[in-house]
Symmetry: C2
Subunit: 437 residues, 2 copies
């Protein structure tokens, strides 16, 4: 997706959300008061029945979380886990289950008053852990240890739990709900799953709101998506013997000049905007003028415009640095050239604080006795947020019940009480947002 | 060795060589005319007898070169080859053969009028090739292919050939000759063998002149040793999340600043002085402010003073760059620090063009019908040259009879005629310089 298009989309969305949230945010019959809608859901006997089902099924949900955790799902290697999740989604009672060409698992639950659009409730299939990582789950009391157990594999099982609980309780929603297991949420995946869903898949232009269920505490609500652009910048030149070919252009000198200029860019504290050089490399031996040199750059912003400003400046700087080196040393054998390869592109965006789904999430979390923690992060929700589609990333775990995410000793405490209470709260958000009948 | 000491040694040597070469360069009875001495050697029947022995033994010399070539001798891994060479040196008839603590193989051939000092005739044991390289020799007609076959393993066998030919011909020399197989001539070895020989070994202060027999054409004479200093510069800092910890000092920004300043240093064309950054690295992921960053720097000069000037400036630059970064960004968690580690130190030096051994080498090469090619390079001779001891690196192969040095398809053509003629010429240099009786 091009940042130019999103630049125009975002201000338009802000206006729509401020003055017409009821129209944009929900097609089903809904009160003007999201908090009242949450209260209605929470008080209804069928919701109570659904939470009783979650309580009864707690053991199965845990087991269903362990199963996919032990199927490795590194970035770009989610296939086996996706196939298993598709099977489980079918077994949970959804009829229309498919794996899309990107690898996402989709399962539709029809609503009673569908307007042809869907509310997505998703979790991500992939983990940050490379192929070969030991993903065997180890238990210690109620604590489960395994890479990816919390982020985000247990959430897949929680989605299955929602589907079954809704069925057991006989819940109907106005809206169609599309349950999704996405690929590519983590680093190198670069949101490829959710990107496909919103820009190419069969539900493109048919998604009216989006929930990503994540490993975090149930009171966390990510309503802002920090955008990021990552580049691998490679400077190339003729190389040569460090003594014999002295005076020849050196790609590392050009790169250094670029880095120095890059480090001088002023950025605003609000919307928070940042940049860094995180990795560098190049060269073959200490006594050779290198033929190439590279650096990997990370730029982030809460604002599409600020991110683009830094990106544009960086691209200009690297070209100027290459040109400058070509004027500073000999180009007899070849000139320094520079290639800027986009290796990461997470679009920025946010869901207005006044949007229905934000109000619903806050009310549901407060009703559960938690204190809402609204924050910005970089998740699958970045994509819909950037496109102006109301989206939130919500938690589904007890407070402080998971840790060491992205490390080999990642853990999740599945103690029944806190886990069921948190799942019930998450479910109440989904049901309030989809118009439980 | 400190460049400061050599700074004082070298000018002193130049004077000595210019006005007192006969005294400094040779203890044995010698004419004032090195060319005449070469003519005397070449015309003598015992020299003719020695060359006849080389001719007769050509096949054995080739086989004795193949044997050590097939024993891997990577930098710091020359032990097995050294032990084999020590055995061969003993078998060639030298009595006093030893391996010194650094790993050099030493074999003494007593002279008839020894002044207690020795003339070293050496070749190096090590190759540039890492452990695991296939070092099996492949023949194609008179061409032998193998990593290290020419540089410098066949030279070890040529030394053995010299020892045997001198014995067969009944040659005595005035001077003691110390035949040496050195370790650590190539890159990372950093001249450790010859450095030990001249600064710590039992022959320290007892070497009056030095020949390194190398793979090159017999007409090449290296009389100047380009000095080099190599550093690995490491910048370290606290690191942090690229978004969360934005504003924190970044070691890569400090390094870039240092590289930019380094690239601005003016150096003279004569004495040729050069610098380069050849390798860079650092960082753990694109989205982390790195905790460290490094670059490997190569500086060379034909002049001790110029080399020191560039080195001093570089060391100042890297400190200034670290300081500058500490003023440019937050040091709340830690400051940027910089470590400069010397990873290569080849002292510069040269043997005066008027020195006896240079005149002898020129005359012998011309007498062989070749055109002397006097040059500067970086070889084992750097060490004695820097200490003010007359030293030359000489060839021992036919013109254009070797190639692809330092590559896996290195080759040497051992065709008898050109090889024997070249060896005979090299031997005449050694005999003229040691006072063949």
């Amino acid at each position: 997706m091009k940042p130019t298009s999103s630049t125009f989309l975002l201000p338009a969305l802000s206006i729509a959300l401020s003055y017409a949230t009821l129209v944009v945010g929900a097609a089903h019959a809904q009160t003007a008061d999201p908090a009242a809608e949450v209260r209605r859901v929470l008080a209804s006997p069928i919701y109570q029945s659904a939470t009783a089902a979650l309580d009864k099924e707690h053991g199965r949900i845990v087991e269903d979380g362990i199963k996919p955790t032990e199927i490795p799902a590194p970035p770009f290697g989610e296939k086996a886990r996706a196939e298993e999740f598709a099977k489980m989604l079918k077994a949970s009672g959804l009829s229309d289950v498919q794996i899309d060409p990107e690898g996402n698992v989709l399962g539709l639950r029809k609503g009673t008053r569908s307007d042809g659009k869907v509310v997505v409730v998703s979790a991500h299939l992939d983990t940050v852990f490379p192929a070969g990582t030991d993903v065997k789950v180890k238990r210690q009391g109620t604590k489960l240890y395994a890479p990816g157990i919390g982020d985000d594999t247990m959430s897949l099982s929680v989605l299955l739990g929602f589907v079954r609980a809704m069925k057991t309780a006989g819940i109907s929603t106005c809206d169609d709900i599309l349950f999704v297991g996405t690929v590519g949420e983590e680093g190198p995946g670069d949101l490829r799953g959710v990107r496909y869903l919103f820009t190419k898949g069969s539900y493109k232009d048919k998604i009216k709101s989006f929930f990503s269920v994540e490993s975090g505490d149930v009171n966390r609500v990510t309503h802002g998506g920090v955008g990021s652009k990552r580049y691998r910048i490679t400077f190339s030149g003729p190389g040569g013997h460090s003594f014999g070919a002295f005076g020849t252009v050196n790609p590392m000198f050009a790169q250094a000049q670029a880095a120095v200029e890059f480090a001088r860019i002023q950025v605003p504290a609000k919307p928070k905007t940042t940049y860094s050089i995180g990795l560098i490399g190049g060269g073959t031996s200490v006594n050779s003028i290198p033929v190439s040199s590279w650096m990997e750059i990370d730029m982030r912003s809460e604002s599409v415009d600020e991110l683009k400003r830094v990106e544009d400046r960086m691209l200009k700087i690297v070209q100027e640095a290459a040109d400058g080196e070509n004027f500073a040393r000999s180009t007899k054998n070849a000139k320094i050239t520079v290639e800027a390869k986009l290796i990461g592109d997470r679009p920025a965006g946010n869901t207005d604080m006044k949007a229905d789904i934000v109000q619903i999430a806050k009310a549901a979390i407060e009703a559960g006795g938690y204190t809402p923690d609204l924050n910005w992060s970089s998740t699958d929700s970045n994509m819909p947020m950037n496109l102006g589609i109301p989206a939130l990333t919500i938690g589904r775990g007890g407070i402080g019940r998971n840790g060491r995410t992205h490390s080999l000793d990642e853990w999740e405490d599945v103690e029944k009480g806190p886990m069921v209470k948190a799942m019930a709260t998450s479910l109440s958000i989904v049901l309030s947002a989809t118009g439980m009948e």
